[in-house]
């Protein structure tokens, strides 16, 4: 493990502070719900980052995996008898595993394609899976949507927003640690080599197809887990939300937050989820129809233009600026300039 003891302590500290923060600041219930959705989308973005940030593959259909996870977990927890909480763990695990399997199959079909072809093919997959959500009424209840229960782990109910927050935060942390280790492992290095130059990587003996498949399936796994958590928070799922718009939002989250960065996934998810809500609350301007939509679009473009490497790397921009101003000041003082 490459993290020094000091770094581990710092990260643990930050995580603990994050965990307690809502309680300290006394967030209202709807804010807590929003924060919970941020955590959930962070998990999905984390997985997507593995695919896009590290493996360099574009997918425009990942919303379908998230939806699949939601439906799987709802179906399982609704059908299984009360096992004291085990059914929820099973539900969430399968919410990740089923999309992983589907991702494996789809990847076998599509991952020979490149760049924009892959993007459109995954778009097609997303639409197809969404259509299945709408038509397979036996499994998903079709257009009417499906209800699910709140998680009840061995007596501890995760109904309240606060307890759900801790639960999902723990899962986010665990998955982040997993991602971190993955990047540092042989697989991770292979992914990065592949992203930087496919041909060079191939020349070094890395099987492109195998690694693309791993990245794709893993990202589907993360998305599925996120979906599974979602359904137990909102307790209702319907087919219309898992479409192109959400897939594009996931893409935006990762790019805005910062590719190939765990912190970036979280920041991006927070940005895309919270900014429109904040904009809506601005008095007077927030009332103009679609204003928040326009401003969110502007915000997206501004971030890409001025902070192209993502919010998590904003220091790359600030540090040189600070250094430059300091140096200029110093030169001025010495009356050189």
């Amino acid at each position: 493990m490459n993290l020094s003891k000091k770094q581990i302590l710092i990260y643990s500290g930050i995580i603990l502070i994050l965990a307690i923060l809502p309680f300290l600041l006394g967030f209202g219930r709807s804010t807590m719900t929003m924060i919970n959705t941020v955590v959930i989308y962070s998990i999905a973005a984390l997985g997507f980052n593995i695919l896009l940030g590290y493996a360099g593959q574009i997918s425009l259909g990942h919303a379908a995996f998230m939806g699949l996870g939601a439906y799987v977990s709802a179906y399982i927890t609704n059908t299984l008898p009360d096992m004291g909480g085990l059914e929820y763990i099973l539900g969430i695990l399968l919410a990740g595993i089923v999309p992983l399997a589907i991702g494996l199959i789809l990847g076998l079909i599509a991952l020979r394609l490149e760049g924009h072809y892959l993007a459109i093919a995954t778009l097609g997959f997303g639409v197809t899976i969404q259509q299945v959500f709408k038509e397979w009424t036996g499994f998903t209840n079709g257009f009417s949507g499906m209800n699910a229960k709140a998680i009840n782990l061995f007596g501890i109910s995760l109904r309240s927003r606060e307890s759900f927050y801790i639960f999902s935060l723990v899962i986010l942390v665990l998955l982040s640690i997993f991602s971190y280790n993955l990047i540092r492992s042989k697989i991770g290095r292979g992914l990065i080599a592949m992203r930087d130059s496919e041909h060079a990587a191939q020349a070094m003996g890395i099987s492109l197809f195998k690694y693309k498949l791993i990245a794709f399936s893993l990202s589907a796994f993360y998305a599925g887990i996120a979906g599974g958590l979602y359904i137990h928070l909102i307790r209702f799922v319907e087919p219309n939300q898992w479409g192109v718009e959400l897939s594009l939002n996931l893409l935006a989250m990762v790019v805005i937050g910062g590719l190939a960065s765990i912190l970036g996934s979280v920041l991006g998810a927070a940005f895309i989820t919270v900014i429109p809500e904040i904009l809506k609350e601005i008095p007077l301007i927030g009332e103009i129809r679609n204003f928040s939509m326009i401003l969110t679009g502007v915000a997206l473009i501004l971030v890409i233009m001025f902070i192209p490497h993502g919010l998590s790397r904003i220091t790359y921009k600030i540090k040189p600026l600070v250094k430059k101003t300091r140096r200029n000041k110093k030169l001025e003082d010495q009356e050189v300039v």
């Binding site: 493990m1 993290l3 003891k5 581990i8 302590l9 643990s12 995580i15 603990l16 965990a19 307690i20 309680f23 209202g28 219930r29 709807s30 719900t33 929003m34 959705t37 709408k134 079709g142 257009f143 009417s144 949507g145 209800n147 501890i156 109910s157 995760l158 309240s160 927003r161 606060e162 307890s163 927050y165 801790i166 639960f167 935060l169 723990v170 942390v173 640690i177 979602y230 928070l233 909102i234 307790r235 209702f236 799922v237 319907e238 219309n240 939300q241 809500e277 809506k280 129809r289 679609n290 928040s292 939509m293």
Partner: protein, 409 residues
Amino acid sequence: MFKRLISLMLILVLSISMVACGDGESEDTSSEGSTEVELAQGITEDSIKIGTVAVQSGALSFIGAPYVAGMESYFKTINEDGGVNGRKIELIKKDDEFKPDKSVQAVESLIFDEEVFAIVGHLGTPGVVASQEIVKEEGIPSVYFGSGAVSLTKAGENFFPVQPNYLYEGKLMSKFAVEEFDAKNIVIMYQNDDVGNDGLDGFKDGLKELGEDSRLKAEVAFGGADTDFTVPIQKAKEQEPDLIILYGLSTGTAGILKGMENLGMTDVDTLTTYSNADASFLAVAAPGAPNAINNLHVMGWLEVTEESLQPLNDAMAKHFPDTPINAYTMAGWVAGETFVAGLEKAGDKLSWDGYIEAMNGLNYTDGLAAEISYSEGVREGVTQMSVSKVSESDGTYIFEQMTDFMEFK
């Protein structure tokens, strides 16, 4: 390796203890005012704060924007006349973009942050169903839903659905198809989404209950956003129908009518859903289908005449002159009417129980709808509908009521 394990365990232990702690903290969500005889939250001496949740931005804003405008213009009119029993109504609007997670957030914000007295006109089945449990738990009155969810009729004493859902409308359509049109070769063309599917199911159920299934010859799906309706229309044409049920929203239905015109199907009677029961739909559909439009009929649950619409038209012209007046606007207006009707009846008993009690004996006939009534345990909403047909004068098309109001019994 070891150190990592330890820090992991620490995090987990602390987290689990947080869960146990956190659980206790959130027990705080007691509904203030639901057991008090005195005023519930959101009520002051001279104002009543209420909230609504509807899609205001994005692709579906064509539903939510006129809807909220209709509602808000009604409340402004009431306020201009002095409010209800001396209290003016303050409407808080939340945009949920038709997404259930944002809808849940909006409802929670209204109940716990804004502390409104009631939720009026929550629009969108996904959001309504997703937040149903919260509303039920808190006991806050929720009046009028822009949703066809059947579960609302059985959701609880504090739920007051009004507009008929598509399932019921489909059923009632079948009754009209048999009794009014006496159609023997019926084809139903339905939009391939929740709206159309509900209508389709309702229609089939209705025919079945009447024992007349054999009259339905074909079910043809189409997409609301389709760019070409040739295939569905041809499939319908093959059956040589004498009545076509068009179960879709305005864009798709208008497209079908135009396609019918182009393919020469200008003699067949058509019947469409109440969501299209307004002049602005005709303005979009008629120019491209000048012959087919004359055979169009529409279901309606409101008594719409020039006279009855006058207050709405005036209010909209005054407050929202740029927003279209269509079936959605009228729905929002009715939402306002229903809520205020209960409010007036409740007088000073402005607790949640007091409001629910007042609504329980309501029999409101002064609004656009023929009759809105509730009694204890009965939350069916409006069940009477009528059929109107198209009439034209000087190039302007409107709908005229053709039959009486009828229920499916």
